[in-house]
């Protein structure tokens, strides 16, 4: 008898169900009367809430449009020499000759990334109620390591299109097959006397730029989670 068989047999004995039992479907007995969103908001209110919640957890929040983005990035990258980019950021970059841009490629090692000063990416979506940005490894975001090893992450969010209200609104828009990274403020710890300190292993500086620009994604299917 393998360990797998043994564990499964123990489970069936424990819950007194035969192996072939065809019980209720996965969702049959789950009350889902909790709220999909915790308030009705206009797109603008949603963006404002995202900004407030990000800032509360010590992300630096900026607002601009496509025209202003180049200048803003120039200012945010004033102290940087080497800047990491995803395969396709989808926005224009500052043309400052002192900046060297590196595009994500498979041969880049963690040590290479450790020498990079900052990284600029887009995101898959952002969640207002929790102050979260979600990356899914798409072309505007690159591999997970490029937003992890450098000490400064600048994340561009297209507003209002990429901002959803809540966690229940976000999940149906995400593909669980892709690697997902949810980021709510910069790296932090509460391990010393339960006092929150920002900045441990992940980027210690998180700049979130809310860019007033259309969402390039095709309109999502009617959201299965929305009722």
């Amino acid at each position: 008898m393998t360990s797998k068989d043994r564990i499964l047999a123990r489970i069936r004995r424990a819950v007194q169900q035969p192996a072939a039992q065809t019980g209720p479907g996965p969702d049959a007995d789950i009350p889902r009367d909790y709220l999909r969103v915790h308030a009705t908001r206009t797109p603008q209110e949603r963006v404002d809430l995202l900004a407030a919640h990000l800032a509360e957890y010590r992300a630096r929040v900026h607002r601009t449009d496509e025209d202003g983005l180049r200048d803003l990035l120039g200012r945010l990258l004033a102290d940087a020499a080497t800047v990491q980019l995803p395969p396709d950021l989808g926005f224009g970059l500052p043309s400052d000759p002192s900046l060297t841009f590196v595009t994500d490629h498979a041969a880049q090692t963690p040590r290479d990334l450790d020498r990079v000063d900052a990284v600029v990416t887009g995101c898959a979506l952002a969640i207002a109620e929790t102050g979260t940005i979600v990356l899914d490894g798409g072309p505007s975001q690159g591999r997970r390591r490029i937003t992890l090893v450098p000490d400064h992450h600048i994340c561009l969010v297209r507003v209002p299109g990429q901002v959803v209200d809540s966690v229940p609104e976000a999940l149906p828009l995400l593909d669980p097959g892709r690697p997902l990274t949810w980021i709510s403020g910069p790296s932090a710890t509460s391990d010393i006397e339960l006092e929150r300190v920002e900045g441990v292993h992940g980027p210690r500086t998180l700049d979130v730029v809310l860019v007033a620009a259309p969402d390039p994604r095709p309109d999502p299917d009617p959201r299965p989670g929305t009722q």
Partner: protein, 494 residues
Amino acid sequence: MTRTDLGMPAFPEAAREAVRDGVLRANLRHATHTIRDKRARAVAELADWDRLRAAGKAVKDHTLRHLDRHLLRLEAAVTAAGGTVHWAVDADEANRIVTELVRATGEREVVKVKSMATQEIGLNEALEAAGIAAYETDLAELIVQLGRDRPSHILVPAIHRNRAEIRDIFRAEMGRWGRPAPDALGDDPRELAEAARLHLREKFLRAKVAVSGANFMVAETGTMVVLESEGNGRMCLTLPETLISVVGIEKVVPTFRDLEIFLQTLPRSSTAERMNPYTTMWTGLGPSRGADGDGPSAFHLVLLDNGRTDTLADETGRQALRCIRCSACLNVCPVYERAGGHAYGSVYPGPIGAVLSPQLRGTGSAIDASLPYASTLCGACYDVCPVAIDIPEILVHLRERVAQGGPVTRHGIRVRIRPAHGHTAERAAVRAARLLLDRPGALRAGERLLARARRLTPRRLPGPGRAWTDTRELPSVPAESFRDWWTRERGTPQ
């Protein structure tokens, strides 16, 4: 569970030391009160908290009822996405599997993300015995590992240490494990976190193998979910070539959608945040099956039983398997606050530990037989539990197991256990008390006897009564019981 834990003294003796340690008491009081108030505010933000709590409970109960099907579904999904699934009946088997997997890579060191399951099975010790160094990378786990200490809290394993103690540990120990602490290291939490960042970065950048646990595993998609704060989790989950996750079988949830409940309740219950800084979700080796260098090129999932199916077999006790390890119950527990986590003699301290350890390990040892009594049954833990585990109910149920004995499942076999040692005198006393209480006539006679001797009531009692009178006066005995007053005033009762 590690064998050293089982040689622990019973809870009351261990707690006695902690209660007298003024520094420890102050550290715990400060930390638990800080987080307790923050949690209350974070929870109060959600008008539907009770419904989220009920839904979380229902998802977990449903999963446990059909655990075999969900595990098989999970295995299929993980395998389809390029991962390999292993099944471990107990700690020894899990340790053996992980050790072999690490050996096969040719590496002699692993980086670790904080994981209750690997602590439970004593993985670090098993790897060390096989000549493999395991480096804890969570700040609190690092403090515990460097201090050759034991964790005392689920979320904040070094909660018993204050900043000055942590600075001293870093100064004395970091150099032996890698990059030493800066000479002028102060005790500001920011400085301490920075020292940990520098110390661990070297390890992250060179690591080839990582070991993690998981908060959730999604059966439908094979997706693993790890919530964390510092970024050490992301480092371990994405940089090394081989990732081994050891996860208790109860951590499975049926659907990706189910995460919408727990991603709202877990962060608010544990760190009192709307959302923790980082959550990583991965499915096997990802869309490219590891070819794009985004994440590991080998993923192993070790599904761990180690007493869980035995716990599942108990109708009252199985609700403990709903636990999502948030540690809200520790932070509100007045007993935990005074006794500290070490007194619980297990990697699972506090109220949830008091119901989990004696189920996972059995009630055979002194510590495990004493844990169900390590509570006043005040109910604060049940109130804050985001999956509504009725901890007081399980505590009483396990007290029964200790005091009366009864049917229990151990290693998959249903047995009838005898009462635990040391309860013989208590059982006789309880029986005598019941016989008295069940005869109001005898009770009245006893009360009158007591009233007549009331002037003789001593200030200090001998024997077991000392436990009361060492710190407290006895209530003074009235001249007349209520019964006698009623008879005198109103005549014979009905």
